[in-house]
């Protein structure tokens, strides 16, 4: 395998959890909600997936349970914002804290109950392992686990849903102007609840990818900021499906390069900054070239 092929394979692997979480946040934001706590949803998925995968010794079951855990955890967010109508940002932050605390506590308790054992999920084989020596697509696709294939397949599906189906149009309407959507006969709360569940499942799957597919084991706070990177990817992708996907691939490659570069180099920290700096630049630039001239120097 040539170094380039290896790099492509590794970038795809690193980009997959970002893509899953990014798509999850995208669905939510298109429905007019923002959850800055998707890091926590990912952690829940990572722990739920790890626990089920370890207990049943099946990575597939782990991934399914990871998605379900994420969706179940998002119910707290949905309840707080849709039913109690609490502020979304603060709710997201609170659920993030709860997830970080709960998963780490649970894992500490689990490893205390099994001293000396290494808790791990069995290795998940690639989808087309027999063709892994094929040029480029071998490392990029054949060697990857089903979760990567699912993530890539979801990109056109989500795009089609938003752009070509009536339901998707309704969901976008809910995001653009909930009051008008309500008046047009759309059940805003129900639509948003569904978006929350879908987003939770996607983010949970992204977290589960880390524990059942990438590393086969769990560590406290193993998502290490990926949820926030996914948030930045959605912003940089300008809230479009393909834009978000592109941003996730870009960040995946950047993170691969960071790990490949010798560690004492200063570039490590600078690569870590990249997603956030790019997202901030995109935010400022968007408003300048798009809607912004009207908002420029406006006295709000």
């Amino acid at each position: 395998m040539s170094p380039v092929e290896y790099a492509i394979g590794a970038s795809v692997r690193i980009g997959t959890p970002l893509l899953l979480a990014g798509l999850g946040e995208l669905v939510l934001e298109r429905a007019g909600m923002i959850n800055i706590g998707i890091e926590g949803v990912m952690l829940c998925g990572a722990f739920g997936g790890f626990y089920a995968g370890w207990a049943s010794q099946s990575p597939l079951l782990g991934a399914i349970v990871g998605a379900l855990t994420g969706a179940a955890f998002m119910l707290i967010f949905a309840f707080m914002t849709l039913k109690i109508r609490a502020e979304q940002i603060v709710t997201g932050m609170a659920t993030n804290l709860i997830a970080a605390g709960a998963t780490s506590t649970a894992f500490d308790a689990l490893s205390a109950a099994h001293p000396g054992e290494s808790l791990s999920v069995p290795q998940w084989a690639g989808v087309l392992e027999q063709w892994k020596d094929a040029p480029i697509i071998g490392p990029a696709l054949c060697e990857q686990t089903p979760l990567t294939w699912l993530a890539l397949a979801l990109v056109p599906v989500i795009w089609l849903y938003f752009e070509k189906t009536e339901r998707g149009l309704e969901l976008r309407a809910v995001g653009e102007n909930p009051a008008a959507a309500q008046a047009a006969g759309i059940n805003v709360a129900a639509a948003r609840l569904k978006a929350c569940l879908a987003s939770g499942a996607l983010c949970g799957l992204g977290g589960a990818f880390l524990t059942v597919s990438q590393t086969s084991s769990y560590a406290a706070n193993c998502t290490s900021g990926r949820g926030f990177v996914a948030l930045a990817a959605v912003v940089l992708g300008r809230y479009t499906t393909f834009g978000t996907t592109g941003a996730c691939i870009l960040f995946g490659t950047a993170f691969y390069l960071r790990d490949a570069i010798p560690t004492h180099s200063a570039a490590v920290e600078l690569v870590e900054i990249l997603p956030y700096a790019l997202a901030l630049a995109a935010l400022c630039w968007k408003f300048k070239s798009g809607v912004a001239p009207a908002g420029l120097g406006k006295n709000t």
């Binding site: 109690i84 659920t95 804290l97 709860i98 926030f228 956030y276």
Partner: protein
Amino acid sequence: MAELELNGAARGWRRLAWPLMLALGTATVLALAIVLIGQNPELAFSEFVSGSVGSLTGLGGTAARATILIFFALGIALSFRAGLINIGAEGQARVGAAAAVALTMGAQGALFSAHPWLGISAMLLAGAAAGALWSLLAGAMKRWRGVSEVVATLMLNFVAIQLVRFFVSSHDWLQGRDTDLQQNELPAALKFSGWSGTDFHWGVFLAIPAALAAHVFLFYTAGGMRLRAMGLNRGAARACGVPCDTLTLWVFGICGALAGMAGALGVMAVGKLGTEPAYSEFGYMAVSVALVAELKPLPIVAVALIFAAMDMGSGSMEATAGVPHWIVYVLNGLMILAMLARDAGSKNLRVKRIGT
């Protein structure tokens, strides 16, 4: 008259009931969680108390942590009151800390050899200025580009953390360590004289006046009233002549200055600029402090002390009773949710309305 008194007493009782419920609920959840993971709650609680308020070390650490939390939470309360969700306290503090150290190290200790108080106030000023500038970056994006201040401050947090990490790892002198000259640590005068070997430092005596000043500003000055008016209804406030755009920038600046000062204090407390300071994650904890204190500056002091004690206690609980300190994160999150739920339930829409 009797009726009136009764009324007042009932209202006072109701005001006390919520914090009591919160405290009882917290203790119950904590005890349940400890039993659930198979540890001894009695031992855990006694460790919790001795690690937080039951010993000199605990008290000193609690006071030191509370200082940072008070500064953070005051800034958060001011900006939430103004309808701006600035959650960038941690990034602002790190930038402030780095700037304070850069100033003293750049001056080769000249400031401190002149007079320790000159050095200390110079560091505080440098921290405040750098924190304010970092915060104003987000403020400018909000003011001139209409960027959501939540996303801007959140992202700037990560940029700040990594940027400071980059400077610390690539410039040894920023850590107070000069590899060529074999000089270690920042000048000793930087450390506030400790209190019998604990983390206690004089910053506490700055935090309380800061809370008083914030209280007076918020409730007894025209500026404070404009700020609150802007938070309650931006459109109406503008119509009444409140300069909302300028005020927004001021709020960002003050919030950043408070956080930056906390960062400088943090450096002076430990005598070095670390990549993982004691206040990592305090930016989010401070939001729960501010919310539990109902965005009022004076209660913030008390609430910050309680949260700091929880943070200290959880550490010793983990060390001796085998209960993971992570439990405190869950409690923090639950407290925020409880405050949000209460505000939604009552007629008081302040917390619910922020940012809309």
